[in-house]
């Protein structure tokens, strides 16, 4: 049932500002642009008091829906829950804090009207503390190197997306963060919209070391998803060979020296050689199990997505699933 123009999904997972103020600020430009809209707030259980504060607005008839989750879940799950009941012909995701100015929303939606599948806000010019800008540089340099990304501002959570596209993306784990990259990988058109930074966001936020560790793991997970999910052995085999090969060389040299009369049993380097060899074999064996999973599920999924067909039977004219 798609009976409104826009569904704005607000996932409340970290240090949210007042949701009432957020709604009032971001609904204004939507109303002004003449689009019908609804807001869905999906909140981590920790932030229930904040969603409770929306009750008076709901009572007054504001198009607000609140999704309560009993479990402690992340942003990606909240997004999927909200997307499942979204009624909009377009979906906008909005973090619960202010990243960009509210007038960005109509600009993103205009981009969808122009044929984009995903439109993402790009904070430009970036006004932030020096530390945060440096972090941002590092993140995008890493992404650019590892996954050949061309998105300028992955960390900005303000995005407009067609609901059909959202439903097809592999959103699990913490991958909602990298939504534009996943969309690009599946061949969707992703447009960037330069947007002014919200005055509130200029104060600069500080993150604990745990956040960096999680980001690093996220990026590694993304790298694996984008590059190796179809060929796990190439990854495990490479790393395994790098471990096993030096191990094998060490043992071979020691073996030759042993033939030459030098003792081997009292040399700790033998331990190192065996250790490396064992680790390498373990990794390659893991890769084989990975390949087995890929092979056994290959008949049920396709690694490509169709843009369309011409002159085929009607039945196959639909766009195909992606892997």
């Amino acid at each position: 049932m798609r009976d409104v123009d826009v569904t704005v999904i607000v996932t409340v997972v970290e240090s949210p500002a007042s949701l009432v103020l957020l709604y009032e600020e971001f609904s204004k430009p939507l109303a002004a642009s003449g689009r019908s809209f609804e807001f869905i707030f999906a909140a981590h259980p920790l932030f229930r008091p904040l969603t409770d504060a929306l009750a008076p607005l709901v009572a007054k008839g504001a198009p607000i829906r609140v999704i309560d989750v009993g479990q402690s879940v992340g942003e990606t799950v909240l997004l999927r829950l909200a997307a499942g009941s979204a009624r909009g012909r377009a979906v906008v995701t909005l973090p619960a804090y202010r990243q960009v100015e509210a007038k960005t929303l109509p600009a993103l939606l205009a981009q969808l009207d122009g044929g984009a599948d995903v439109a993402v806000a790009w904070r430009s010019p970036r006004i932030d503390s020096f530390v945060n800008r440096a972090q941002n540089r590092i993140l995008h340099w890493t992404l650019g190197t590892l996954v050949r990304d061309r998105i300028h501002d992955v960390a900005c959570g303000v995005r407009a997306i067609r609901p059909e596209v959202l439903a097809e993306l592999p959103l699990y784990g913490d991958f909602a963060r990298f939504l534009p990259l996943l969309a690009l990988r599946d061949g969707w058109r992703v447009d960037e919209v330069a947007s002014a930074v919200h005055p509130d966001a200029m104060k600069g936020r500080l993150y604990g070391p745990g956040v960096y560790l999680r980001r690093l793991i996220d990026v590694l997970g993304l790298l694996f998803l984008l590059r190796f999910t179809e060929k796990p052995l190439r990854f495990f085999g490479l790393v395994g060979t790098f471990l096993a090969a030096p191990g094998g060389v060490i043992l071979f040299v020691v073996f030759l020296q042993r033939l030459g009369g030098q003792g081997a049993a009292d040399r700790p380097v033998v331990l190192l050689g065996v250790l490396l060899l064992v680790l390498g074999v373990q990794l390659i064996a893991l890769g084989l199990i990975g390949e087995m999973i890929v092979h056994l599920t290959a008949s049920r999924r396709r690694g490509y997505r169709l843009r369309g067909q011409k002159s085929g039977p009607e039945r196959t004219g639909a766009e195909s699933g992606s892997g």
Binding site: D266, M292, R302
Partner: protein, 330 residues
């Protein structure tokens, strides 16, 4: 359950043609019209065929030109991928869309000669599941193309034991049943015969085909493929030999590791007896090595069990098609 609605399936249709020719195209705008023309001329005597052209996310006008050809001749069909996925996925997309009882794959660059198609199909009718073409007088550069290809084919043959001398030649004919039993992913288009033998038990033969130098466009291959090919070959060998019994390979590997553990353990005991002491360095080097090998043996055995779990779950969810089989007429 397999979701059959999400991609075009290999279902035989009432009005389906007898023969489907499938060619992936990537930035081949100059080759579209000559290719269609050549196939049309080659199959002029054939009663019912279709040409499935897969546009693999080309950045030039390939898709547009194929669409125009399709509009003019209903036997030509365009399958357009959302982005550039590579030859394996493009080929699979073409096979998925093809409706014929016999499928012929070929390159989109006109280096394969379409006039060979009837010969391939005729050979298939003699009772084969896959007929591979091998290129006579291959018209490519020696060092950058032919030499790596020769090495790769040697390795592929040695490892897969499938006697096809030219895996790189795309011109091949398949029975639909063969294609239904194999699923292309990663870079498997290089090993189609080996994959067909491994997963479908296909009866394979080969015939020589003519090969032309590239007239238009550029080659999309690089020479640095050999490492990837090796990894894929290991995969293929693994699939061919052990996909029905993963525990057997892992159990075997675990046994070898245990043997090493026993070897190091025995030499430790021997050294200790000779020296009458455990205090010397071999007091930790040898038992340490023995323990590491033991850990590996245990780990491999456990992985084998995981493999069995994976296999069982996969088979419960989607029963495998039985291998190709034939009842002999006496």
């Amino acid at each position: 359950m397999p979701d059959q609605t999400r991609y075009p399936t290999l279902t035989h249709l009432e009005d389906a043609p007898a023969l489907s020719v499938v060619a992936p195209l990537y930035n081949e705008e100059e080759n579209v019209a000559p290719l269609v023309e050549a196939v049309r001329a080659a199959l002029a005597d054939h009663p019912s065929w279709e040409l499935v052209l897969v546009d693999d996310g080309s950045r030039d006008r390939t898709a547009e030109l194929v669409a125009a050809q399709a509009a003019a001749d209903p036997r030509v069909r365009l399958v357009q991928l959302a982005r550039n996925y590579g030859q394996t996925q493009a080929t699979q997309a073409g096979f998925d869309a093809a409706r014929g009882a016999v499928l012929v794959g070929m390159d989109g660059d006109l280096q394969n000669d379409p006039t060979e198609i009837p010969r391939l199909v005729a050979k298939l009718d003699e009772g084969y599941d896959l007929v591979a073409g091998y290129r006579l007088n291959r018209q490519d550069k020696l060092v950058s193309r032919k030499l790596p290809s020769w090495v790769a084919n040697r390795i592929i043959r040695a490892i897969t034991r499938v006697d096809v001398r030219d895996n790189g030649c795309s011109l091949k004919a398949y029975r639909r049943e063969t294609i239904q039993r194999m699923h292309l992913y990663s870079d498997m288009h290089r090993f189609l015969p080996a994959l067909a033998a491994a997963t479908a038990g296909a009866r394979i033969t080969e015939i020589p085909v003519r090969h032309h130098a590239r007239r238009f466009g550029k080659s999309k291959y690089g020479a640095s493929r050999i490492l990837k090919i090796l990894a894929d070959l290991l995969t293929l060998t693994w699939i061919a030999w052990f996909r029905e019994r993963p525990l057997r390979l892992f159990g075997l590997a675990g046994t070898i590791a245990s043997a090493f553990a026993a070897l190091f353990g025995a030499s430790w005991v021997f050294s200790a007896l000779v020296a009458q002491s455990l205090e010397r360095p071999w007091g930790y080097v040898l038992p340490g090595c023995a323990l590491l090998w033991l850990v590996l043996a245990f780990y491999l055995l456990m992985l084998g069990f995981i493999g069995e779990v994976v296999l069982r779950r996969a088979r419960e969810e989607s029963p495998e098609l039985l291998p190709l089989a034939f009842e002999r007429k006496s």
